[in-house]
Subunit: 226 residues, 2 copies
Amino acid sequence: MPEFTTLEYENLNSAVYGALCDALIQGRFQPGDRLKIRDLAEQFGTSVTPIRDAILRLANDEAIIFRSPRDIRIPGLSESRYREIRSIRVRLEGLAAETAAQVATSADIEALERILRENEQAIEAGDRLKGTQLNQAFHFILPQIAGLPVLNGILRRLWLQMGPHISDAYIQGGRAMIDHHYPVVEALKRHDSAAASMAIVDDILLGGKPILERIERGEERQTRRA
Amino acid sequence: MPEFTTLEYENLNSAVYGALCDALIQGRFQPGDRLKIRDLAEQFGTSVTPIRDAILRLANDEAIIFRSPRDIRIPGLSESRYREIRSIRVRLEGLAAETAAQVATSADIEALERILRENEQAIEAGDRLKGTQLNQAFHFILPQIAGLPVLNGILRRLWLQMGPHISDAYIQGGRAMIDHHYPVVEALKRHDSAAASMAIVDDILLGGKPILERIERGEERQTRRA
DNA sequence: ACGTCAAAAAAGATGCATCAAGTATCCTAC
DNA sequence: GTAGGATACTTGATGCATCTTTTTTGACGT
């Protein structure tokens, strides 16, 4: 269960922000979707103020954009931007994997293997949502094992931007999403930093291939109206 | 002149956010300093609303923290956190330097050399503020040359967190702040990616040494009252 | 002096009214 | 039937009142 709020105490603002982050990461928004503060306020049963706060934070994360002062939307993702995000992930998740390999305990390994088992089951059951969630859980747990909270926050933000663009695509890769995870765990067991780094890089590049191909095909509806 | 606002149109919120970001990066806040929304509203001559918006964005960047629901402060920087930020910078600025080396034009090189010349002058003149500003400009221009806007945003956020902790320390390093910049430019001229990456890593590790030593010495006043 | 506790003041959270600017709708004129 | 324009509506920005909780302060007793 990833922790998304950076504010340590609870308020409506953080609750809304967390809920919208979850929705974004789970792909429940499509590129081009428009967000309206008053509508969201009604959905959440609050006034507009906490919604505005959350929307502003999301805009600061570049997870949503203000196309004009009154037009808040889920942004598109150009091919070059996706490639940049992928390059950044390669560097940062590589660092996380290296560090994790050095410090991973047997409890950490068990947690990873549990995620893999659940992911297997989700794929067999055809549960796409759970499949992508567990895939994300795998990626987020590495910086946690490594004890790198700043890195974790950066990756979280990148995932907010990718979320609306990976929901459908991942499935087309079938088991490719999970196959590359096993070598990572094997490397962590051996405390082999170099192998762990290479394995996670493989996962990012190969496992993410369907997403890139989808963006290249231009199946994005970036400027779709509502 | 780095562009800090992610909202493309102008409003009070972004103006306040930008001003506070500048203040943070320039070290005009000290760790432990307390921020009060009403006070800032008076200083900026606005109501509390745009200030709250900006404060919330800054908190989302982890540039400021809510120690309690009514206590907004500049956070401290533990040694482990600084080391983590440094590791991330090594990876990301390494990537920026590699990419920049491949695509840098002669105009880009000239811009870099202009910054170096101005930085020399600022150091000679003993202008600390301008010195640190130009040092930052050097680091921010590399991802711009490389055409990596996402990377740029991540580094900007990291700098927001480091800002309050580097103001004094850098000076103690004397010319060390700038000496390591020359090999970077030389590598870019030769379009030598590997050398550029190594040079910028040297700068981060060696140039940042005074900061780490200061944090290790515990000269931080993280919980200082006002 | 120091710690404790209570009252007073401060401060952020939340809700809401209003404003300005942009959008949609509908009516009219040709 | 269509084009143009005026009107009504939508929507985020801003300001502000109020509420609750925290923080500060100061008096009191030890």
